[in-house]
Subunit: 206 residues, 2 copies
Amino acid sequence: MRFITIEPGIFMQKFQPLIDYINRIVSLTEEEEKLLVSHISYRKLRKGQYFLQQGDICKFSGFIVSGCTKTFYVDDEGQEHVIMFAVEDWWTSDMGSYIAQKPADYNVQCLENTELIQFSYEEQDLIMREIPKLERFFRIIVEKAFVASQKRIVRNFSMSAKDRYLYFSSQYPQMEQRIPQYMIASYLGITKEFLSKIKRQLLLDQ
Amino acid sequence: MRFITIEPGIFMQKFQPLIDYINRIVSLTEEEEKLLVSHISYRKLRKGQYFLQQGDICKFSGFIVSGCTKTFYVDDEGQEHVIMFAVEDWWTSDMGSYIAQKPADYNVQCLENTELIQFSYEEQDLIMREIPKLERFFRIIVEKAFVASQKRIVRNFSMSAKDRYLYFSSQYPQMEQRIPQYMIASYLGITKEFLSKIKRQLLLDQ
DNA sequence: AAAATATGTTAAACTAGATTAACATTTATT
DNA sequence: AATAAATGTTAATCTAGTTTAACATATTTT
């Protein structure tokens, strides 16, 4: 394993998933990897803990090493709306709050014990200035996130609830196993009762 | 006016709206501005013309100087779904097609005679490498676009059609004047008949 | 000015999905 | 093993928004 030859010990090891992820998009030198590591931190959260609470300022952006989070919004009537889930190799934060350093609209809560690598807003800004390749990296991943978000808007308008569910379960089969059905219903923008009905209908169909 | 003192003639002038827009986020030196200008082009399109057609590869990303475009998707049943509008100082393209250089999912059509400044995919990549400040600029504007997109998803799930319309008309009063109502209905994800009903109801209310 | 095209309205019948409420099953806690 | 808490199901009733179809009004084009 590469980290052993660079620098023994567990130091590099725990950041390796992020480094691998970044190197798939831009390639960092060993010096850059070390500099990066000096600006990030590792964090373990238990099931149920909040990475971010609505109203707080989002200080960190997190890259998930293991576990699962849900991002949700509680409206004036107290209704929860799930905005997204994140699993291994995904990013989580309230980007709007993070980039403007204003109170968050969303909560980020762990659905499982979760380990993540986090950037603080200041450190991320610093490191992007120190390593322009990382500025490039973040531009590229935000572009991808934006494209995915636009596609989701289109799906929400052009597909029925049943088709959105089928799309979700084919795209993210791992998530379907790990996440309670009522949260998936909320993510799809429907009630848990209606998702239950859809699933029964699909079972009867074949 | 500044462009006259740098270099007389209309050369800088027509790119000035973009330069001003960029300088609000990062500040370019005069050399950088000149380098930028050498990589972009100006284009006039007439009402009805397409900036991009579904299935083509999106070669350009456009910054609108004057006019208005709609981005829309035609589904298998031939139904049009408006994804977004863009007016002065907004960007338009099919980002998914542009970044991957794959066939576009969407059409971009001019609703008015439109003048825009365009970047080709290759030139934009080049210029971001030449001027890291522009890499930063694009990261920042895509972050903002992503935040706006996420907020739209939340609004679509948590607000009624009437409230989405009220939000749209308060946020973009200029657009409401310029854009036919049936296209606004499509953008809001409802039928033109239902938007008509909502507007009548709002009139009766006061 | 007339005809054609694009845009907007109204109303009746319909449907996808919400609401309510009772019950069933699984998982965690004591 | 028993109880509590979380998750999932079913069915009846309801409603926000769709569909269809006919008509009305602007705006272009000839």
